[in-house]
Symmetry: C2
């Protein structure tokens, strides 16, 4: 039977750990072997899979660059030893040459590195510091596999109109593969597919986009790896937030008009021939198109993934958190149970003199619903010593309560080895409505980038999902419906200090995500007095925000290391 030249592509959407060269190399061998056993002709891993992404300033360490290069050479051997030598494997890694550190991707084949290429476009915004870390590449390595020409571009290179993808199109390729480490943001998948489709049409070649999955500090990667045809048609899509091997058989016409020029569009082009024999088995592995998750499920999965990987990759087996009976700690507890299982989650109710009966009851009910380990540690005796001895009143007295809770959690953490979870949300963090060394205590802050109104929304959604599945909804109805309070003085409510959360989140969204200034916010119809009040709180809270633990980022403008604001600042927007 005669048929069109064909390639079986394996997209290895895996979850590496930054810096763990040995562990990541094992991961690559394991998944490459699965791919080869499934008959793959080409295996593609994410950007910098060997080092994990982002390596941040580790990129600048000469010894780390040298270790990555050695690990790459060793990996080529290991793949060969594991029976994968006949199949080219695309592996991202950190290179370092006389020019400097490089964000590289290599093709490993027959126990050797047969091609390598460095990222050309280095993103330097938001969480990306690549111009600080890497020197750009200027070459394109095109590899012939089963008679078909396969080019590659790394991550940001695929976002450039008229960049290396266009150059590959001019040079003539039958297929482009693209290793990526593209962090999750709400609704980012809406941009990804149209972009990849456009780029494939630009190069007139199918495009294979492989993305990292999993959590790394405050970033989470959703996977969502994609294959599109030369006309942009979606052929395969991997599920989000899970490691996954996607297999797709591509029928490729072959014989793209090839130039033998050494230089195309300022890129030096090198061609490497690996094999010319066409694939003969005639079997067709149809691509599977996974549906992207609905919005709430996507956010919930991002938060669960970020929490799970931060905990496990840092070597913790269990977490501890304070349960106030309120909505934030209830949602964090539900996330932790989904991420790690109820047996790994320890909830502590820490009532004070000002805690209401319903708070303690709501905390206990949460524990019962989720099955987490529950204990109670009243803080009255601790607080009393500080307040009396130091003569504290007012805000100083309120803060001591939050700090005694923080110390209690840290004490339990030190004694039993749990990771402490901070339960603050993005709205609190934005306006500085928290106690430093108090409720800000912890190693990780799962909902740090979730605005208060979204916390409620997610709680309702998670409960409804449980109902659908016939399970017990994790979050007590009372924790969702009661008016929020810090309970640091009698009868205190959040609304004593803060505007209504719907209004507040609205202004914050425009100010932070929308990056709008005072005048612009007034024009948008917000109450000038409210804007002024909110902006002053936000502009003053930078020091507090910096002391907050990392937490999963779900928006472009999360608070964390990608927002670099001065502490000492005379700038007040309002």
């Amino acid at each position: 039977m005669d048929h069109m030249p064909q390639l079986r592509i394996a997209l290895a959407q895996v979850n590496p750990t930054v810096g763990d060269l040995a562990g990541n190399a094992d991961l690559v061998v394991r998944w490459a072997r699965n791919a080869v056993e499934a008959g793959a002709d080409v295996v593609v891993f994410p950007e910098m899979v060997l080092t994990g992404y982002p390596v941040e300033d580790l990129a600048l360490r000469e010894s780390f660059g040298a270790a990555s290069r050695s690990a790459l050479d060793a990996l080529a051997g290991s793949l060969d030893d594991a029976g994968c030598g006949a199949v080219p494997v695309w592996v991202g890694y950190l290179d370092r040459d006389e020019v400097g550190p490089r964000n590289g991707a290599a093709v490993l084949h027959g126990g050797r590195v047969v091609a390598r290429q460095f990222k050309h476009h280095l993103p330097n915004y938001g969480v990306f510091d690549e111009r600080r870390l890497f020197k750009p590449g200027t070459s394109l390595d095109i590899v012939r596999v089963r008679g078909l020409e396969v080019g590659m571009v790394i991550c940001e290179d695929v976002w450039q109109e008229g960049g290396p993808v266009a150059a590959l199109g001019q040079a003539g390729v039958d297929l482009i593969v693209s290793p990526n480490a593209s962090p999750y943001e709400r609704s980012k998948d809406d941009q990804r597919l149209p972009l990849i489709a456009r780029r494939a049409r630009e190069a007139q070649a199918p495009l294979v986009y492989v993305n990292q999955v999993g959590g790394q500090d405050d970033l989470v990667f959703d996977g969502d790896s994609i294959v599109v045809a030369a006309d942009g048609t979606l052929l395969a899509r991997a599920p989000q937030f899970v490691e996954h091997l996607a297999l797709v058989d591509l029928d490729l016409p072959g014989g793209a008009a090839r130039t033998d020029a050494d230089v195309v569009d300022d890129f030096s082009v090198r061609r490497v021939v690996l094999s010319d024999e066409p694939r003969q088995d005639g079997v067709r592995h149809p691509g599977v198109i996974a549906e992207p998750l609905p919005e709430e499920a996507e956010i919930w999965s991002a938060l669960v993934t970020g929490l799970r990987d931060y905990t496990q990759k840092n070597g913790f087996r269990s977490v501890v958190l304070g349960l106030s009976g309120g909505i934030d700690s209830a949602v964090v507890a539900a996330l932790a149970v989904d991420a790690l299982g109820a047996d790994a989650v320890h909830g502590v109710s820490m009532p004070s003199a000002y805690s209401s009966e319903h708070s303690r009851a709501d905390a206990a009910e949460l524990a019962e619903r989720t099955g987490l380990h529950f204990s109670e540690q009243p803080i009255a005796d601790m607080v009393e010593v500080f307040v009396k001895q130091l003569g504290l009143t007012g805000l100083a007295e309120e803060n001591v309560q939050a700090r005694c809770r923080g110390m209690t959690l840290m004490g339990l953490s030190n004694q039993h080895g749990h990771l402490v979870l901070a339960t603050g949300n993005k709205t609190e963090l934005a306006v500085g409505y928290s106690t430093i060394y108090g409720d800000a205590v912890g190693g990780f802050a799962p909902i740090k980038d979730v605005p208060k109104t979204l916390v409620w929304h997610l709680a309702r959604w998670r409960n409804a999902e449980a109902e659908k599945r016939g399970e017990t909804p994790p979050i007590p109805e009372n924790s969702i419906s009661k008016p929020p309070s810090a309970e640091l003085r009698p009868g205190q409510l959040d609304s004593d200090s803060l505007p209504d959360y719907e209004l507040l989140d609205d202004v914050l969204d425009d100010y932070i995500e929308g990056d709008r200034g005072y005048a612009d916010l007034v024009r948008a119809g917000h109450d000038p007095e409210l804007i002024d009040r909110v902006l002053r709180m936000v502009d003053r809270a930078e020091y507090k925000r910096r002391q907050y633990p990392p937490g999963t980022k779900i928006t472009f403008r999360a608070f964390g290391r990608d927002r670099r604001l001065p502490i000492t600042s005379g700038w007040r927007e309002g």
Copy 2:
């Protein structure tokens, strides 16, 4: 009397506050008026003086860029109103045009902006993120003052061989002025003068280098403004770490071979004529050459400046710190007294059951020697409640002591409005020898970038200086000479957990400042077991380091926001 064309240059080495556009504009008017009263023909302020430097991500806010542009226009008017309209004043500011944010410098004259130029070379390493923040400039504005052609280059532009300075040389100028915001580092002034001299020779024109002074978060600027002749001879140098107006009369031959080309070396060149009448008074103001400070005095001044400006610019009038009787807290107290005066410094001795009698005595002696406010808050009662109620033992019990001290200081801070100073040094921070939410508590950490051995050295130096001046040495001899201990359990010494500090600092210096890897350290002759032990401690302590407050940076590789390392990392150098 006939003489060479002459210009009186004023270098305004001032201390702005980031974001305080109104305050910084007032500062410029005040110093410009002094300069004009002193007969200056040209007044030069530091880089981005109007916004302060570094503005970090404020640069990305459209509203901040717009406010800076408006403030610049208003400042031109204010200068004119203040009688400075006839003298051109070089003012750095944040511009924003259709391309994006710009690091700009403008010439204000006659109530208007008559010239403006954007920084060409954008540093993107260490503390600098300018490729993230600014778009580079492509033009050079040359202004004629009293018949002499004056060009300008901004900061990093002056570090480039064959860059804009060379282009100005080709275009033909009689003088180059350079506004700078170049952060202090140990011995940086050794590089600065030779570089400025080389650049002047390259352009064959005298060069006026004006640097910012003062603290801004973890950065401190030392001033050290310089004027060199066309042959590189040093003509004037301003003192370090103080605001200063340096006046220099330059005899300029004039009539540099001028090209009228609109483009030189890819820079578009624009010439603006302000005045042609030569200066006639015949008076000569000789440049004053201040000696750079000796090494210890320079470091001490940097630390005092950083502490003073962080405190005052953030609106605090007083500081509070724990006095353990040890060397670190003694040095921080001495710095605070030098920075703010004894009346603004509150020292608290917080003995526990494990505190030795000499610790309490040494703390009290320090208070007596310096005159700071002293009080004692025993922590035994606080510790007991936590330990008993939570059943804490071992390290968990040790940490509770440090945390009760941290809570005590924060309680006093909240009650009385003091800024809390953390007293940890760079060595502790490097190896993670500290308690998170314990001794790491504070708003500022003055000796965060000072290795332990240098802490001792500075203590001895400061005492000797006092002796020289016939004053009481601030630091008790016993705090310097006794073996260091955290006193968290009976008989505990630092040497139980850490290598000898001389050895430790030696390895840390090679690993951190020298950026050497394990193999390289072994080759350098360090004991492999020691290296392994130290590197493991350093590589594991990133989370703790991130929770530490900012502190004055005195080395290139300080721990802080300019070192961006992953928390979750499998990389172990050892």
